[in-house]
C-alpha cells in the first residue's frame, strides 16, 4: 500500500494541471487581492494574514478535490480500478491510499501560500503557529477528500470534472474564503458558517490571530468527514455494481 500511495502522489505531481490549479491559482489570487485590499483589516486580522489563510485553504481544497473526483472517475472509466480489484490489494486500502495521497497533495499548497505571504507581505507567525496552521489546514481537508471520492464514484469523466470545479468554487465562496461571511445575505451566512470551507478557514484564522483553534470547528469538520465518508461508501458500492 505504501508503494501505491507513493505512485498516487508521484503521478499527480507529474501532472502540470495539478500544479497550475492548486498551487499557482491561489498564490495568484493572493497577490492580486492583497495588493487591492492590502491595508484594510478583515475579521480582526490584517488583510494579508486573513487572505493567506483563506487562499491556503482554498488551494489545499482544490488539490484534494482534483486528486480524487476526476481521477477516480477517469480510473473507473479506463477500467484501472477494475483491474486493481483482480489483485490482492483490498478495496479499503485502495481508497485509504487515495485519501492520504490527496491530503498529502494539499500540503504543498499550504506551504507555498505561507512562503508567499511571508516573503511578499512579511507575514510573521511564531514557529509553533506556522506548524499548527500548516498541519491543521492540511488535515482539515479530510471532508473534501470524501467529497471528491463521492463525486468520482457517482459521476463519469467530464461531469466529474465540472462537479469538482463547481464544488471548488461554490463551497469556498459561501464559506467565506473568497469574501468575509459578513457581507453575504443572512440566509447564506447561516449556511456558510457551518460549511467545512468556513470551519477550515476558522482553524487557520484563529491560529494566525494567536488563539487556540476552536474545538467546535474541529468537531464540525470531523462530522462532515464522517457524513461524507458514509455517502462516499454508498457511491462506491453503487459504482461497483454498475461497473462490473
Amino acid at each position: 500500500m505504501i508503494t501505491y500511495l507513493r505512485l498516487e502522489v508521484l503521478r499527480v505531481i507529474r501532472n502540470s494541471r495539478y500544479l497550475f490549479l492548486s498551487l499557482v491559482t491561489p498564490v495568484g489570487f493572493y497577490l492580486l487581492f492583497s495588493s487591492l485590499f492590502g491595508s484594510q483589516p478583515a475579521e480582526g486580522l490584517k488583510q494579508s494574514v486573513q487572505l493567506m489563510v483563506s487562499m491556503a485553504a482554498y488551494g489545499a481544497i482544490g488539490a484534494v478535490l482534483f486528486a480524487t473526483g476526476p481521477r477516480v472517475a477517469a480510473e473507473r472509466g479506463s477500467g484501472w480500478l477494475r483491474q486493481l480489484r483482480t489483485t490482492p490489494l483490498p478495496a479499503g486500502k485502495v481508497i485509504a491510499a487515495k485519501v492520504l495521497a490527496a491530503m498529502a497533495l494539499g500540503f504543498p499548497a499550504v506551504v507555498l501560500m505561507s512562503l508567499t505571504a511571508a516573503l511578499a507581505h512579511s507575514v510573521r507567525l511564531t514557529a509553533g503557529e506556522w506548524a499548527a496552521f500548516i498541519a491543521l489546514t492540511t488535515l482539515g481537508t479530510a471532508p473534501f477528500a470524501m467529497l471528491g471520492l463521492m463525486i468520482g464514484y457517482l459521476a463519469d469523466g467530464d461531469s466529474s470534472y465540472s462537479l469538482t470545479l463547481a464544488a471548488w468554487f461554490v463551497l469556498p465562496a459561501i464559506g467565506g474564503l473568497w469574501m468575509p461571511l459578513s457581507i453575504l445575505p443572512k440566509a447564506l451566512r447561516t449556511i456558510g458558517h457551518v460549511l467545512p470551507t468556513n470551519r477550515l478557514g476558522d482553524l487557520g484564522w484563529r491560529i494566525a490571530a494567536g488563539h487556540a483553534p476552536s474545538a467546535s470547528s474541529g468537531l464540525i469538520l470531523a462530522g462532515w468527514t464522517a457524513a461524507l465518508a458514509v455517502l462516499a461508501a454508498w457511491s462506491y458500492r453503487r459504482a461497483s455494481v454498475r461497473d462490473s
Binding site: 503521478r11 499527480v12 501532472n15 484501472w80 480500478l81 477494475r82 483491474q83 483482480t86 489483485t87 462490473s244
Partner: protein, 243 residues
C-alpha cells in the same frame, strides 16, 4: 485430494432482462490450457468476472483453487488480463509492473515479467504514451507479475498487430508449458486451436461443445451449407467465395 484449478457449477447471471450466463458448468484441471470460444455476448466476460469475484452469481457456484474466487484473488492464485482493464495513468511501465508484483506473496522477478511481455525496452515509458498493442502487453505483464497458478486472459490479442500477436502467444505458450493453468477467451477459432489443448464453445450463456482442440476444429470446420436452386439457373455460382 488436490482440488481442480477451476470448478464452475450451474452458474447463472442476468443483467436486467438479459440472461448472460445460463447454467454454465465447467471443470478445469491444474495445468490445462483452455480456450473459451464464442461470439460477443455469449457470456464469456461475465463468466470471467464471476471467476475473479468481480461479479456475484445469481445462482450456482464457483471455486478457484478449491476456494471462493475472492480468496483465490487475495492469495494470488489467480490473476487476469481483462478486456476492459485500464492502466494506472501517469506512471511508467516498470513502476506499474513493479507496484503490482509487490502486491503478491510470491511474485516473479521484474526483469522476467518485462521480458516475457516484451516490455524490456519500454520499461521507462509512460503508460499513457503506449500504443494499443503495447498497452495490451502491459496488461499481460500485470497478470503475470504475481506468478499466479491460474492465468485468465479475456480476448488478450484485441488491438495487437500480427507481429505482437505472434510474440504474445509464444510467451503465453511458454507460461502454459511451465505449468501454469491458462484460460483464455477469444472469438477466433484459429487462436483457440493454435494455443489451447482444449476448447470450450460457449453460446447464449451455456457450453455447447467441449473437447480437445482437434475435435472441436473438425466439428466446426465440417459445417456444410445446403441450398436448393429450385429450378433457377446455376450460372454465377462460381462467383461464390470458396469454402
Amino acid at each position: 485430494m488436490t482440488p481442480n484449478a477451476i470448478e464452475i457449477h450451474d452458474l447463472h447471471r442476468s443483467f436486467g432482462a438479459v440472461r448472460a450466463v445460463e447454467g454454465l458448468s465447467l471443470t478445469i484441471g491444474k495445468g490445462e490450457s483452455v480456450a473459451v470460444l464464442g461470439p460477443n455476448g455469449a457470456g464469456k466476460s461475465a463468466t470471467i468476472a464471476m471467476l475473479l469475484g468481480l461479479l456475484a452469481p445469481d445462482a450456482g457456484s464457483v471455486a478457484v483453487w478449491g476456494m471462493p474466487p475472492g480468496e483465490a484473488v487475495a492469495r494470488g492464485h489467480i490473476a487476469a488480463m481483462l478486456q476492459e482493464g485500464g492502466l494506472m495513468p501517469g506512471v511508467k511501465v516498470a513502476e506499474l509492473v513493479g507496484f503490482v508484483r509487490g502486491l503478491y506473496p510470491d511474485p516473479l522477478p521484474l526483469d522476467r515479467v518485462l521480458e516475457a511481455a516484451g516490455l524490456t525496452a519500454l520499461a521507462g515509458r509512460h503508460v499513457d504514451k503506449l500504443s494499443g498493442g503495447q498497452t495490451q502487453r502491459v496488461r499481460f505483464a500485470l497478470a503475470l507479475a504475481g506468478n499466479p497458478s491460474i492465468l485468465v486472459l479475456d480476448e488478450p490479442t484485441a488491438g495487437m498487430d500480427v507481429e505482437s500477436r505472434r510474440a504474445f502467444w509464444t510467451s503465453m505458450r511458454a507460461e502454459a508449458a511451465a505449468g501454469r493453468t491458462v484460460l483464455f477467451a477469444t472469438h477466433y477459432l484459429e487462436e483457440a486451436d493454435d494455443n489451447a489443448g482444449r476448447i470450450v464453445v460457449v453460446d447464449r450463456g451455456r457450453i455447447v461443445a467441449d473437447g480437445p482442440a482437434t475435435e472441436i476444429k473438425a466439428a466446426a470446420g465440417g459445417r456444410t451449407i445446403r441450398f436448393s436452386l429450385a429450378g433457377g439457373p446455376s450460372a454465377g455460382l462460381e462467383a461464390l467465395p470458396p469454402a
